[in-house]
Symmetry: C2
Subunit: 400 residues, 2 copies
């Protein structure tokens, strides 16, 4: 069983059964597949006592991205390895890897079925008091510990090489930074947005800032990123926050993950304008979301500074003045990347259910106009956002 083959439920069950003691499962086992089948197969294997695990297997293509975009199976190795490296640092907020088989492109994970997917929960107007602090702490702590402040240059270079991840990076490079700003068949927006999109594309300053963000994404291996921190990659309940699915993981600019997460909160904020009819309820949800953004940025900013001031090993980078400057530059990058997330989710290939599920076409269009506006303004003004405070000032001026 070392040659790759696509699993069905029976094969998955047999595989898990052969290792069952590892997972504390007792025969007889039950197995079913429940993934969306676009990128991966996801099986749940459970025993009669109610214990269960997840077996995730990568498929050699991605139906959701263009026409049968072939995708390396190596992403299973990347995903499991990132989870392990992040899990060592943040065990509380990283889904646990129980077993990894790179030949079969499969990973066995703890079952988080008792938790909700954050995107779905937010779309149902649920709120989670620990969410923003948990994610901010997770992102700050993992990003700090795999940065030049902590790793020796030799260790860092060897990890960079282990996580080059060219194929999945190419998806981000093209979908985030190229497609939305150029004519491309992969783009997806209603004809009524054409004029707005053309205006965006002809904005010289915007193109400059997007090029800077792309260049940094290509050539700034600051830390081991998750690479895809959207609200569909987070499981939650009132007490728990778990990050999953880092198959886009690679060494990139620290602000990218933070910006992606904040971007998804803002997409939900804008979508709620059309999702919740009752004004008081809408206000409440939007207030929750913006306070999440504020708390996330503040916690991240403070945690990074505290970590760097207390635990930096590099003799030159640990200078307090540099740490202050560097954290400011992360926030600035995050604001820019946040803007690109808003834009690409509105007019690029991959949309979000938050907006796409809005039934009323006019309402959906108004939300799209809003996310484009905020995305554009965040990118254009990111250079003035080197702190949580400055970022929130800008954001509040854009949202009101």
């Amino acid at each position: 069983m070392t040659q790759y083959s696509v699993f069905d439920s029976e094969k998955a069950l047999d595989y898990v059964a052969s290792l069952a003691p590892l997972f504390n499962l007792q025969a007889p086992l039950n197995c079913y597949e429940f993934g969306d089948g676009n990128l991966n197969l996801v099986f749940r294997v459970s025993d009669s006592t109610g214990r269960s695990i997840i077996l995730k297997q990568a498929l050699p293509y991605a139906r959701c991205v263009g026409e049968s975009w072939p995708l390396t199976l190596d992403r299973a190795r990347i995903e499991a390895s990132v989870l392990k490296l992040h899990g060592v640092i943040c065990p509380e907020t990283t889904v646990k890897v129980l077993h990894q088989n790179n030949q079969l492109a499969l990973t066995i994970l703890e079952d988080l079925g008792q938790l909700a997917i954050l995107r779905t929960a937010l779309n149902n107007s649920e709120t989670f008091p620990k969410l923003s602090k948990d994610i901010a702490t997770h992102l700050a702590t993992t990003s700090f510990n795999y940065s030049d402040f902590v790793l020796t240059p030799a260790k860092k270079k060897s990890l960079v090489s282990e996580f080059l991840n060219p194929e999945l990076c190419a998806i981000t490079e093209e979908l985030f930074f190229d497609d939305p700003y150029h004519q491309h068949e992969r783009n997806n927006f209603p004809i009524t947005l054409t004029e707005r999109v053309n205006a965006l594309r002809s904005n010289t300053h915007l193109r400059l800032e997007v090029a800077k963000l792309k260049a940094k994404f290509l050539s700034s291996p600051q830390t081991l990123l998750h690479g895809d921190v959207h609200t569909g990659s987070i499981f939650v309940d009132a007490n728990t926050t778990k990050v999953i699915d880092p198959e886009f993981g690679f060494f990139g600019p620290i602000g990218f993950d933070l910006g992606s997460f904040v971007g998804n909160l803002l997409l939900n904020y804008c979508a709620q304008q059309a999702r919740i009819e009752s004004l008081p309820q809408r206000r409440q949800m939007q207030t929750y979301l913006i306070s999440c953004v504020a708390e996330c940025l503040l916690t991240f900013e403070q945690s990074w500074k505290d970590l760097a001031n207390a635990h930096s090993l590099d003799v030159t980078l640990r200078d307090p003045v540099y740490i202050e400057y560097f954290v400011g530059s992360i926030i600035q990058d995050a604001v820019g990347y946040c803007g690109t997330e808003l834009i690409r989710r509105t007019i690029g290939l991959a949309h979000v259910a938050d907006i796409d599920n809005i039934e009323d076409e006019q309402a959906r269009l108004a939300v799209a106009q809003h996310t484009l506006f905020i995305g554009e303004q965040l990118i254009l003004n990111s250079s003035s956002c080197t702190s949580q405070k400055q970022t929130m000032q800008l954001l509040l001026s854009l949202l009101n």
Copy 2:
């Protein structure tokens, strides 16, 4: 002959003899070693018709850097591979690799014995009309062709991984950015400079800028650098300029090589103050050197812009406004790295003969004070230097 062993002249001759037709050499051959023996063995093998080649073999340690600093033999592979990749782009200015054997850590190169080493020639007040244009064109063309503007992200990532070069990078990381700004036994300066060095080290702004430059050196794989473009790595005569010795090659910030080269011209400029007694002759040499700096920066700036505007492949980076910005950022980085070269060559481990060979102690000290001052000012003011013009304004204000 696939296991590494240190060559003597006899072994070198036998090795070359076994491949003689490759190099167009005819028996009988003659061989002698003439390297400085610190890092590498360098043999010249010639035949009776006057044809000759150079056989360079890496030694597993570097006597010159600290006490028997062990050094990977893999640097022979790096050096030969960088020469080949740069040679494809700039055959006129790159020493030609005739043969490469990674197991034996050896490279056979064209013999440039008819040319002079630039550092020695400058110390003898010789001038070379094509030098600055040749080096600027070489650096612009090689750095552009291995940048994100040209390489596909996948090709780039794979090359980054081939040229991680952690051991030689560590030397630069420590000697350029750490040691001079901290107490370290490897530093080397007269006790009379102590107060000046302490002032340098307690300059908060300087430490911030040096940390930024180190962070960029660690995590900004913009192109395949030579990694050690000082005037001892360049062979010249009136018509020819050849770059040799890229064993420090890796993917790093484009401005590093440019800054190193300009830094070495400035070190020579300052040294000439004490080297040439006759005022008119000194003025003439210094005018030549500063015009080299001006021409080098201008040629580099213009060539990069021309190349990027005509030949960029990346759909987002090829934006003319971004190209303008990006070239400005290279110049800015180069000014900063130039400053670190001046400082580390004055108070760090590895000095330059230009200054060290000045016999008069007071005169040597005055030169050191001057190079420290210029180095410091370049680092502190680099953010205002995003063009050749601005850089020359700053430089002229510092030199006069």
